[in-house]
């Protein structure tokens, strides 16, 4: 898998990978069946099903098949995967079925299981009901971690400790070591819980460690995951059957069960995995329906919840002189998220640092279909003015405009659950000194290269003719295109409003002066006084108009400009998806060609080359599968992202509009005040 190559960097990026990997495996089911959002919210109700459905029936129904499984499939598995020994597997399998005396081989295992089943499950449940979701979840997570481990975490790294905690300490040695191996055989079922992990984490902001253990499990899984499917032979058909059923079951089950603590899931999965067969699936799926509705509501609430990370960009300061001068901004963060070292911290960043952050993020995430918020544009003209110019109003406006844009940019970045987890983001917010961002200079060689890349991208985009299968995407792409155009028009209108308002402000000022002059030459004292009062009122109104123009610009026009840029990023996501599709299609075509070549060879009866051709076919088959999965994965991500973007946009827009209208309201109230003060003056004319 392509992802496995990106695996090397430490914990954080990894935390996203498992999710993606998982998506590719069973994303189709999970994502079309139920919206992602349902998966991540905790629900008290859903803690029940695992116990009822999975544990109890298991003992009765599956004790028999188990013995079979334990004996027969084990061998088959052995044939496929070198490492796992039958003993270990038996250990694992016996865990859930603590009563099943036949199967139990290692007595220690019995202990942890009751623990796992009872204590943690109860505890979170009761917690969940009361408090607001975010904190509660965090608390719950900690609770879970604190409870089972009885002290001795043998692994030295934090990573391992986390997983150790999860599995309880007594059988830790056994389970922990075995698990990965088991996992290798059954990649699909493992997927869902990982998904839950990452989801829960992103919404709830659990400690970063939590994510680590799925990563561990998956490093192995990732490497071996593709293997079972293609190599399905007649001898292992039975195991395969189990695989596919599990696959179904788990995609359903995730939807339903993912809401309880990950812990719960894992245990349940462990429990069910070995013995799952068809009959269980319908039960699980039917039981999943009831809770999912309440979950949605819960999720709504959660998303409405205030985001506990405040970032402000303040104090723009000119550093240096001449053409080497630059503006430095103070980036202050205030948060209660535990992933940060402290609650409040401040760093100084320059504009190119912001651009550098974007470059890093977009390099890492945009290919996966994430919408990476674009930073404000580089403006050579504006900056040169600032560099050269003294304190003139236009450069002050430029700086303020950029400051506000940078602030919004950072807020958008951190409000993205996945981007927030990126180490670069954290580094940007926390670290005192950043290495100077290179290649962000507009006129540098790198800049030129970037332009060139963009151009080739645009060309290749035009050459790709994708026949869209997915109606949702078909419509959405069109919608985004239309919306962008409308937004552009709207933006032009608002810009013209800003200009006209400025004009009005200027004209009002001139008129005020003129009226003052008129007042001075008026020979009627009262009228003269009234006229000079009028001039004063008009002067104040000029101020109001100016404020309104600033409001038009900063609150409304800039908002639209942001959206236009963001819509560009959304389109970029669609392009990424299209590229993935193209890759898949290319591989498909290549496979076709190889097959034809093989047929030709067969016909020409050239056995010596036949083997090579077969190998190639196998290779390309694997590639096709891989690319197809990647395409599905990116489709799912893009879809999720676009939905998220739409939601955010609506909320953001509403907030900004209310702010805009409130500011207008304020101006009107001032206007009333001024005119009301003038009225007696007008009446005093005699």
């Amino acid at each position: 898998m392509a992802a496995s190559s990106e695996r090397s960097p430490p914990p954080f990026p990894d935390s996203e990978e498992p999710e993606l990997l998982e998506d590719s495996d069973e994303g189709a089911d999970a994502f079309t069946g139920t919206s992602i959002s349902e998966m991540d919210s905790p629900s008290p109700d859903s803690t029940r099903p695992p116990k009822d459905i999975f544990n109890e029936p298991l003992e009765d129904i599956f004790s028999d098949p188990l013995s079979n499984i334990n004996s027969e499939p084990q061998k088959k598995v052995d044939t496929k995967i070198p490492s796992p020994s039958s003993d270990e597997v038996v250990d694992l399998f016996s865990d859930p079925l603590d009563d099943d005396s036949e199967v139990i081989s290692s007595p220690e295992v019995q202990n942890p299981m009751p623990d796992l089943l009872n204590e943690p499950v109860q505890a979170p449940k009761s917690d969940v009901l009361g408090e607001p979701p975010v904190h509660k979840n965090a608390a719950r997570q900690q609770y879970i971690f604190e409870d089972p481990p009885k002290g001795s975490s043998k692994s030295s790294s934090v990573k391992k400790a986390a997983s150790a905690e999860l599995f309880g300490d007594e059988d830790e040695e056994d389970l922990f070591k075995e698990l990965p191996k088991v996992v290798t055989k059954k990649p699909q079922p493992l997927g869902p819980p990982v998904d839950v992990f990452t989801e829960v984490k992103s919404d709830v902001k659990v400690k970063p460690q939590v994510k680590d253990d799925p990563t561990d499990l998956f490093t192995e899984e990732a490497l071996t995951a593709p293997a079972p499917k293609p190599s399905a032979s007649s001898s292992s058909s039975r195991t395969n059957g189990v695989h596919s059923e599990e696959h179904d079951l788990f995609s359903e089950a995730t939807v339903e069960l993912s809401l309880d603590s990950p812990r719960n899931d894992r245990k349940k999965k462990d429990a069910v995995k070995p013995s799952v067969s068809a009959p269980v699936a319908p039960v699980a799926s039917s039981s999943s329906k009831a809770p999912s509705k309440t979950l949605e509501e819960l999720e709504e609430e959660e998303s409405e919840d205030t985001f506990d990370l405040n970032i402000s960009v303040t104090n723009p300061e000119k550093v240096g002189d001449g053409m080497n001068a630059y503006m430095a901004y103070k980036v202050s963060t205030q948060t209660s998220l535990t992933m940060f070292r402290s609650k409040m911290f401040t760093v100084r960043r320059r504009f190119s640092d912001f651009l550098g952050l974007y470059e890093k993020l977009s390099e890492k995430h945009s290919q996966n279909g994430y919408i990476v918020p674009p930073p404000p544009e580089k403006s050579i003209l504006g900056m040169t003015k600032v560099k050269v110019g003294k304190e003139d109003p236009s450069s002050a406006e430029f700086v303020e405009r950029r400051r506000a844009a940078l602030e919004r940019y950072l807020q958008r970045v951190v409000s993205h659950p996945s981007l927030l987890q990126d180490p670069d983001v954290r580094e940007f917010l926390e670290k005192e000194e950043l290495p100077r961002a290179v290649s962000t200079q507009a006129l540098s060689g790198a800049g030129f290269l970037k332009m060139l890349n963009k151009a080739t991208d645009a060309v290749s985009k035009m050459t790709i003719k994708m026949n869209e299968q997915d109606v949702w995407f078909d419509e959405k792409i069109q919608d985004v295109e239309n919306e962008e155009q409308h937004m552009r028009k709207l933006h032009i209108m608002v810009e013209s409003l800003v200009n006209h308002r400025k004009e009005l402000s200027g004209n009002t000022a001139v008129f005020a002066k003129s009226v003052a002059m008129l007042g001075s030459s008026e020979d009627n004292t009262a009228l003269s006084r009234a006229l000079s009062q009028l001039a004063e009122v008009e002067d104040r109104i000029e101020q109001i108009h100016q404020e309104k123009a600033a409001n038009d610009f900063f609150t409304f026009s800039e908002l639209l400009a942001d959206y236009i840029r963001l819509l560009g990023a959304v389109k970029g996501c669609f392009d990424q998806r299209m590229k993935a599709w193209q890759r898949w299609q290319d591989a498909e075509n290549m496979l076709q060609k190889k097959r034809e070549a093989e047929a030709k060879l067969l016909w020409a009866n050239k056995p010596d080359k036949l083997q090579q051709a077969k190998d190639e076919i196998a290779e390309w088959e694997a590639k096709v599968t891989q690319y197809e999965r990647e395409f599905e994965r990116i489709s799912a991500t893009v879809r999720k992202e676009v939905i998220r973007f739409d939601k955010e946009k609506a909320r953001d827009f509403k907030r900004q509009i209310i702010k805009y209208l409130e500011s207008l309201l304020n101006s009107q109230q001032q206007l009333i005040k001024y005119w009301e003060a003038f009225l007696p003056e007008a009446k005093a004319i005699a």
Partner: protein, 405 residues
């Protein structure tokens, strides 16, 4: 044919204010204006108790040219030289919007019927109606001051045939438009007048009152001209802002039409707010135009009329001095003395008469101006407050609604 009359509250206020004259022996108002192809017709409504009118009430239709004709005939009448003759209003520019309408018609094929209808209505409401309204106001105020003068200070007007014809004659006056020669003549006359003004400015003023008035009017006239231009600019840009609101509202609606997420609701609401804001802003701009800019514009012209009066008096003074010189010469030569004496006497008489009525006129003019400023400033302030309050409640309501959903 489109009627420009809008029965808004403001209009009524204004009609009432015309009737506010203490003397109700002659009341004139213009309740209606009609657009008829390329003509705009105003209904002039007269109510009178004066015996010189045959009926107590008249209602006739007059065009802009008729008003100009009335003005010209009054100016040309020697008898009225000592009066400040109410200036005729400038011709409203109906051509601009009409041209736009025409273009709209040409581009009709490229847009749907609804769009066309909407654009047309927009044009009418935003350009033609306000123009008609403004012009009507102007004419009304002109007629009012004419009526004022007729009934109060200058019974002379009462006997003016032309004025009476203007008010009474129920057919079209069919005043022909000035032809090119006359136009040129008018222009030439103006040139001569300006040159003459410069010449006689050297004549030493004998009366301190007039000296002061002259200085004041010269100063004031330039200031008010400036203020008018600035006010016009200001109201124009205010109108632009209102137009922008309109466009934004339209663009928001377009955006909303193609959207089907939660965003749509906000966009629609927002469009609605802007549409309403546009109306308020538009009203604000046109009321400012009506009450402030128009006041200034009117007095710019009225002051010109006052200056004209001063010119006529100065001319008479110059004539008188010339006749004095002529008399001296005649006496020296001993020839035509009686004729020169007669001439000198006439000039003096004329000058005295002009001085006397001019003094009265200027004094009353000053009082009139102060009253008019007071009235318009109060009205404008009240309207500004009204509109601002409207938009405050509008904004408050919208914010509430936005917050609640």
């Amino acid at each position: 044919m489109t009627s420009i009359s809008e029965d808004s509250d403001k209009e009524k206020v204004h009609s009432v204010s015309v009737d506010l004259n203490n003397d109700s022996s002659l009341v004139i108002d213009i309740p209606d204006a009609l657009c008829e192809r390329d003509k705009v017709k105003f209904t002039v409504h007269t109510k009178t108790t004066l015996s010189s009118f045959q009926k107590p009430e008249y209602s006739v239709q007059r065009q802009h040219e008729d008003f100009i004709w009335l003005h010209d005939t009054i100016v040309e009448t020697e008898e009225y030289a000592g009066l400040i003759i109410p200036p005729a209003p400038p011709k409203p520019d109906f051509e601009g919007p009409r041209e736009k309408m025409h273009k709209l018609g040409e581009g009709e094929s490229s847009m749907t019927k609804e769009e066309y209808a909407k654009m047309k209505q927009e044009l009418e409401q935003q350009h033609i109606f306000p123009l008609g309204r403004v012009h009507r106001e102007q004419l009304t105020s002109r007629m009012k001051s004419a009526a004022d003068q007729q009934t109060s200070s200058h019974p002379m007007f009462r006997k003016d045939r032309n004025f009476q014809i203007f008010l009474e004659y129920d057919q079209d006056l069919t005043v022909r438009r000035k032809n090119a020669k006359e136009m040129f003549g008018g222009f030439f006359k103006n040139m001569v007048k300006s040159a003459d003004e410069v010449l006689i400015s050297g004549v030493k003023e004998v009366d301190e009152f007039f000296e002061q008035e002259k200085n004041f009017l010269l100063d004031y006239s330039s200031k008010i001209k400036d203020a008018t231009a600035k006010a016009e600019k200001m109201t124009r840009s205010h109108k632009n802002v209102a137009d922008d609101y309109n466009h934004i509202s339209g663009a928001l609606n377009n955006t909303a039409a193609d959207n089907n997420t939660a965003f749509k609701k906000h966009l629609e609401k927002c469009a609605e707010v802007f549409e309403k804001l546009r109306k308020v802003e538009d009203r604000m701009a046109s009321d400012q135009e009506l009450k402030l800019t128009e006041l200034l514009r009117y007095y710019t012209r009225d002051i010109q009329a006052a200056k004209d009066l001063l010119y006529r008096r100065a001319r008479a003074l110059a004539d008188y001095e010339n006749s004095n010189k002529a008399l001296d010469k005649a006496r020296l030569k001993g020839k035509d003395v009686a004729q020169a004496e007669e001439n000198q006497k006439q000039c003096l008489q004329k000058f005295d008469k002009l001085s006397e009525s001019g003094k009265k006129e200027l004094t009353s003019f000053k009082a009139r101006r102060v009253v008019a400023f007071r009235k318009n400033l109060i009205e404008m302030t009240e309207l500004e407050i009204k509109h601002a309050k409207n938009s405050v409640s509008l904004l408050q309501g919208s914010i509430e609604i936005l917050k609640s959903n």
